[in-house]
Symmetry: C2
Subunit: 548 residues, 2 copies
């Protein structure tokens, strides 16, 4: 027995136990990890949603070097509980309303487990035919659920592929579009290419364009306005193109968004595609979040116009109960991807590829290696079924509507932009702050409150709520206004969590507003000084109070 | 009961069962998936290693649309067994000797399961501090195990990051190097940048460079020779640079390889870095496969010189018992990455980032979102311990040595290039083919055999072995010679599998060589015609026979 192997008598036959993949040991440890996670879901509601650790907390708790000898799974799981869990921000908590959701599910997690268990490297068809074929099938199923036109499906000479993230979807399509144009105008003109998005487009777009070698000065962030609900106006797009053409630049690519990160705003796809067509611009639709909802007929209208686009992507890991990472990308012209991204080294040559009867997904993506991501999507689709998945999404939207109604009923708050899908953008209203400030003022103070002061109150409110740990939301700034985003989508969230979230918001707002008084009266400041949390920057309070 | 929720009486209290993440349902299904995988490992040896399905097999077996209603896990797992497993190429089979290994382990798979279970999106520190902090710690641990200089570690102002694949490691570092130089010489000069690799460098390098906007004509594949064991000669590198400088081009980046894909060849890092330094060229070391072995002191010499490089990466998912994907990248100057790749949208602003006390890994990689990959590496390091991991690798190398010895003893075969690590490149020798062809010839035929004929025999041999399903190897072509690669590294492989693999090779070689005769005698062709497999292209046999 050399520490690596030990002999066991199993099922009457001599069996050499392999410490890496022994079936019985896998079963024993596997059950423990499953139990651990089951307990985690039972308890996740009890943990502070946003982690409360300080930078560097973990280095203090862990050894400086990897252990030389094996440690039992029992000890490791204890450490996961005691050292790791306090440092997690609990995306699976029913009280997680931050960012966009990361909605796990039993089927998604176990699909990932199966894929990790097989651990096949599906770069081409031959390296694991099932990985490629299941992916083409699942992508066609999803295309049907989204009512994408046939031109995005394999039967229509388009096709879908699973990538990690939206950034990869944008990067691969920019590179495909780029090489198509450079083939025409010459490689040396790369610095003339221009890509377009709005000031609401996700930062992945700017990052991808920069990675692809687009001149940073040629990445347009076209201004949107509140009057257009922060959607990109086709006339602004055309104007930007015309300006660039006058400068001798070459318009290349538009990234249109359905469901922006700040406010879930929607760019008008049809009219934008019509403009793009006039200039032969590749249109990619980034529906990372909202694309999920578009499997429901009542939301499908938001991607009307997709039939005119070149590519479309959404993140199943956001709101399709499929764990990170799982970005679904469809293109009308897979050849454009393949031309830009294919590699054919001798060591990957094989009969199937030579026959041209198969898809080799390595040529549709950045990397060569790829996980068997289709498995988890397939498990999710089958475990819940299309109608239930639609209903899960509807339930989340309904909860957002509930929250919106609660906000609307409280005159201290306002909905800043129209709610789309399950994201509510709200804030304490300027009027409420004004009223609170001067309600106890018996002088003849000029009654006003600046934008910065309103923003500071809302920022203070959000930080106070998040620091409390009972729920977690994030923010954005649109048109100069700091807005709090309430995004419903965690798999465990029920109506009771939404109602309780609203009570928490009210409670913190009450406390914060209660400390705001017209500074002409110094009394409240003194009276409440001791109860003001030290985490509240005094300047923000002063900002709110303003000149009196 | 609306199909989404059902009421259950559990632990005496009314409990609403959530179909997405109900703890008990997760446990029930989780155990079943663990059992399924345990059985898979018990049986994996019985499956044909390379899948034997035909293109399109799965579309015939699966429905055309996603199911509308839920299906039980029992049915789904049955379908995984009956429909998916036949379409898998079994990378975890002990008889998988193809490509480079994809070595799964209990700890790796369960680490992935835990990460999927938490499903945190660790783009920045705040979004889940433990994900970031564990990654910095584990990367420092690994750096120690590799004896990387402190300049690659966080304490030395460098640092490590976990990416998906080597392609991402190369792309991020090319982009960092690119933007550093373009900042100096102007964005318009992007088409002048030149990147260097050898004709043995992995295709990921060419792909990454193209994605980054490097002019395809400026991607150098410097020729290597058998006399240098296919390593990149520093003098050839310098010559290529000088030629480019004369053309007014700008040398940017070298991708040096330790353990090439074709033959596991090693570029001489120290001398190459010395050349690169003269021209301020960024040196990245791609040790995707062999880097794993360099945790053993006896192999550490192969990365001597790494201290002079700018970045270094290896794939833990190849040979570190960590499931796909898990590429470990270290850089000396993280700021170069951050400058090229950072994004700071308002919706991600937070106090921790503003304090500059934390690492936000989104700025070290292509994508924004990222999985909690450090968890599986941590589980692997702790579950097995550093010394055992070293021993696992040594055991694989020992088995490759065993195979090499078996090949060497059979005079029909030759080792084409020196064995490095656990890859043996061999073939049926030209001499053996010559001897076999003319052994029964009683005429005065001119005795010769062309290179193509030798390659055809070996290609035929490999295809015959792989089609048999009992083992799987892949090939490469070096210096015009078709070589069969025998790569040991699957977690379940033991000495008996290697010996049995050799017997299979001999058996197929015997059959194939037995059918080769000098064409001056037509008898054997007629005699054996019926026993020649229809899968053997007749032209390849004729090629071997050649003019008589």
């Amino acid at each position: 027995m050399d520490g690596l192997e030990s002999k066991h008598h199993l099922n009457g036959s001599m069996f050499t136990k392999n410490p890496l993949l022994d079936p019985e040991e896998f079963r024993r440890q596997g059950y423990m990890v499953i139990d651990f996670l089951a307990d985690y879901y039972r308890n996740v509601e009890k943990y502070p949603v946003r982690s409360q650790v300080k930078p560097g907390y973990l280095r203090e708790r862990l050894p400086e070097s990897a252990p030389s000898d094996p440690e039992p799974i029992e000890t490791i799981l204890e450490d996961v509980q005691n050292e790791i869990i306090p440092g997690l921000t609990h995306w699976q908590s029913p009280n997680h309303f931050a960012y966009f959701p990361s909605s796990a599910s039993i089927a998604g997690i176990l699909g990932e487990t199966l894929a990790a268990g097989f651990d096949v490297v599906g770069f081409n068809w031959m390296s694991s035919p099932a990985a490629t074929e299941l992916e083409t099938i699942v992508m066609d199923w999803l295309a049907q659920m989204l009512s994408l036109p046939k031109s995005f499906m394999f039967a229509g000479n388009g096709g879908g592929v699973l990538l990690g993230t939206t950034c990869e979807a944008i990067l691969t399509t920019i590179v495909a579009a780029r090489d198509r144009v450079l083939h025409r105008i010459g490689r040396e003109s790369i610095h003339k290419l221009v890509v377009y998005g709005s000031d609401q487009t996700h930062c992945s777009f700017h990052k991808s364009a920069k990675i692809a070698g687009i001149h940073p000065n040629n990445i347009r962030k076209i201004k949107t306005t509140k009057s257009h609900a922060f959607g990109l106006a086709p006339e602004s797009f055309r104007l930007a193109i015309e300006e660039d053409l006058e400068l001798g630049l070459v318009p290349l690519y538009l990234c249109a968004t359905v469901g922006t990160t700040s406010t879930a705003a929607i760019d008008p796809l049809g009219p934008l595609c019509d403009v793009a067509k006039d200039y032969r611009i590749w249109v990619h639709i980034d529906a990372a979040y909202a694309g999920n909802a578009c499997i429901c007929p009542e939301f499908r209208q938001y991607i009307d116009g997709v039939e005119k686009a070149d590519s479309f992507s959404f993140n199943a890991h956001k709101w399709f109960f499929t764990t990170l990472d799982c970005c679904c990308l469809w293109v009308k012209d897979p050849n454009a991807l393949v031309k830009a991204l294919s590699t054919s080294p001798e060591y990957l040559r094989n009969k199937a590829t030579d026959s041209k009867q198969v898809v080799d997904y390595k040529d549709w993506q950045i990397a060569l290696s790829r996980r068997f991501r289709a498995l988890k999507l397939w498990l999710v689709l089958r475990s819940y079924g299309a109608s239930n998945i639609r209903n899960f999404i509807r339930k989340h939207v309904d909860m957002a509507v509930l929250f919106q109604g609660l906000v609307a009923k409280d005159e201290r708050f306002e909905i800043v932009v129209p709610r789309f899908f399950a994201v509510v953008c709200f804030r304490v209203s300027p009027a409420a702050i004004l009223k609170q400030l001067y309600s106890s003022c018996h002088q003849h103070c000029p009654k006003s409150v600046g934008d910065d002061s309103v923003n500071d109150v809302n920022q203070e409110l959000l930080e106070s709520i998040n620091a409390g740990g009972r729920m977690y939301m994030t923010h954005s700034v649109v048109d100069g206004a700091f807005v709090i985003r309430f995004a419903v989508g965690a798999s465990l969230t029920e109506r009771r969590h939404v109602i309780s979230a609203w009570l928490i918001v009210q409670e913190h707002a009450h406390a914060i507003l209660g400390r705001k008084n017209c500074p002409c009266s110094s009394a409240p400041c003194e009276r409440e000084a001791s109860s003001v949390s030290s985490s509240l920057p005094i300047h923000s309070i002063l900002n709110v109070i303003g000149p009196c």
